[in-house]
């Protein structure tokens, strides 16, 4: 199928449309590996999957590992509810993502790349394979890239089979190795021992797409877009009760109110920022900004209008976590089930003092004792709804 059939609305001009991927690869090909790492480090680029780890630092760790067998993995297992930017990036800018992977390969000394594509995006496979062939024909992938005798890199695509947890990088590695998507313990980190035990960089689709842009336009161009503490811009996926849902690019530091005005959602009752594992923001806090440390996000913005029952939202997200918990650790497997029961009960009978204390204790246990981000984050949405919208529960005085 033609990916354009489900392209969707893009609300403003994207920086990605201003860069030729080949130019980024050429710059990297003419540079020493440590200089490539230094440029990405200087830009302040952080991972766009949600955790926000500095990309330059991750690459430096991988670069300093011994051995020649290393891997660059593009995490295209976009599964956070309300997130669809990878869909757009892989449709419109696949060569930019592949260039980002090749440049990462140059930087850390890796010759193999794998793009792990979620099953739900299987319809993009043909389109991506065709883009890979174009890159090989243009020698921006393959042996001796753009004539550089010490720069070879190629990419293969591997499919997921439907598991949110595989967006967690160590679960993704397990899946690539032919196992259940059970998150691994760290240490070791993937940059030390990742895919098949080799040093591995796992970067998000959007992170990699920024890489050639930074190479071409310079780290100061990127840094100038955001704030001093949070350099750069970000793609936001806006859905829910708004007039113009779609993809929007904003620099860090943009206020939520600005975004709501642009998408036609001035009268929102609440906004879920960061997907099911994010937080629910009430109108009194709409002046907060999209910045790590304030509203950190993986890019998902779901708008709720006047008619929305907020505890129905909490229950919907809680169902999601029950479905998607991998089941290996108890705080997450059982905690999410108990939390779902508790939300159902409070929607029916209201909230007692004991009930609230129990559910907050449970949330804390899940947050501190779960093995991976899934369980650690899964109580956030519910708690923010409880803190701001408990007036909607029956029997509330």
């Amino acid at each position: 199928m033609d990916p354009k059939a489900v392209h969707g609305f893009v609300g403003n001009k994207l920086s990605f449309s201003e860069v030729t991927p080949r130019d980024g690869i050429r710059m990297a090909a003419e540079m020493a590996a440590e200089d490539v790492v230094a440029i990405i480090g200087a830009s302040g680029l952080r991972g766009r999957g949600g955790a926000g780890f500095p990309t330059g630092k991750k690459w430096e760790f991988a670069r300093s590992q011994e051995g020649s067998s290393k891997y660059i993995i593009c995490n295209a297992d976009e599964g956070e509810p309300g997130t669809f930017k990878d869909r757009l990036i892989l449709t419109d800018f696949p060569e930019l993502v592949f260039a980002g992977m090749a440049i990462a390969g140059r930087a850390v000394g890796a010759e193999f790349g794998i793009l792990y594509l979620r099953a739900e995006y299987g319809w993009l496979r043909e389109h991506l394979d065709a883009a890979l062939e174009r890159c090989r024909a243009a020698n921006t992938l393959g042996n001796n890239i753009l004539g550089a005798s010490d720069f070879s890199f190629d990419i293969s695509i591997r499919m997921g089979s439907g598991a949110y947890v595989c967006g967690e990088e160590t679960a993704l590695l397990e899946s690539l190795e032919g196992r259940r998507g059970d998150a691994r313990n760290r240490i070791p980190f993937p940059v030390q021992a990742g895919y098949l035990g080799k040093p591995t960089v796992v970067n998000n689709v959007e992170t990699l797409a920024w890489v050639p842009c930074i190479m071409v336009k310079g780290p100061s161009w990127f840094a100038a877009m955001g704030t001093r503490k949070a350099p750069g811009a970000w793609l936001f996926c806006v859905s829910g009760d708004c007039k113009r849902p779609g993809i929007y690019e904003y620099p860090f530091g943009t206020s939520l109110r600005q975004i709501l005005s642009d998408v036609g959602a001035e009268n929102a009752k609440a906004v879920q920022v960061g997907g099911a594992s994010g937080t629910c923001v009430p109108p009194a806090q709409f002046d907060r900004t999209m910045t790590p440390g304030d509203l950190a996000t993986g890019g998902s913005i779901i708008v709720f209008g006047a008619g929305q029952d907020m505890f129905a939202v909490a229950e919907n997200f809680q169902h999601f976590f029950c479905d998607e918990s991998c089941g290996q650790c108890i705080p997450c497997r059982l905690g999410n089930q108990r939390m779902l029961e508790a939300i159902g009960k409070m929607r029916k009978d209201g909230l007692t003092v004991d009930g609230e204390r129990n559910v907050r204790q449970l949330a804390q246990t899940m947050t501190v004792a779960s093995k991976c981000g899934l369980g650690q984050m899964s109580a956030r949405a519910f708690l923010s709804i409880l803190n701001n919208f408990s007036g909607e529960l029956p029997g509330h005085v």
Partner: protein, 166 residues
């Protein structure tokens, strides 16, 4: 050749494509799942032997991922997005109601002719264009009662045409 032998031959062909390594397990299961709409016990045994991976681990992987099934399903697996961002449709959006009405089955069930199975799924990345569903690997967006009925008819025609071609 009996059915089991045919399966083993099929698995051997897949091993030639994907390799006789543990990392080939997912791609092989994905191909089997696509070809048969599910992964049968015989198929799991054949894969276990071919890759020398313990049977319990093949079963573990086959039952972990939501796109895999170890029970027979329809030729077309319809997955309805149940995430609240997807136009907040739930099971009761008129378009989704039309789907159940047209196929006369409930969630998780398969039509008696073995053509369609309806399942729920989490976010499929079409939140800006919901309500949305996948039919096998193809997404369908901005669903309405009318579009759901015509989409189902297209798949029925496709299945008929495929049958005639055999």
């Amino acid at each position: 050749m009996d059915a089991q032998q045919t399966l083993r031959t099929e698995v051997e062909q897949l091993v030639r494509v994907h390799g006789r390594t543990r990392t080939a397990l997912m791609p092989i299961l994905q191909d089997l799942n696509r070809a048969h709409s599910y992964i049968s016990e015989d198929a799991m045994l054949a894969v276990s032997d071919a890759l020398n991976v313990p049977r319990a681990e093949v079963y573990g992987v086959a039952t972990f991922y939501s796109y895999f099934s170890v029970k027979p399903r329809g030729t077309y697996v319809i997955r309805i997005c149940r995430t609240i961002s997807c136009a907040k449709q739930g099971e009761y959006h008129p378009a989704i109601a039309a789907l159940f009405d047209e196929l006369e089955i409930g969630m998780g069930e398969t039509t008696s002719d073995g053509m369609f199975t309806i399942e729920q799924t989490n976010c499929i990345g079409m939140c800006d264009q919901g309500p949305a569903m996948m039919v096998n690997e193809i997404p369908h967006i901005k669903l309405t009662e009318a579009s759901v009925r015509s989409i189902l008819n297209e798949y029925r025609h496709a299945a008929l045409a495929a049958k005639k071609a055999q």
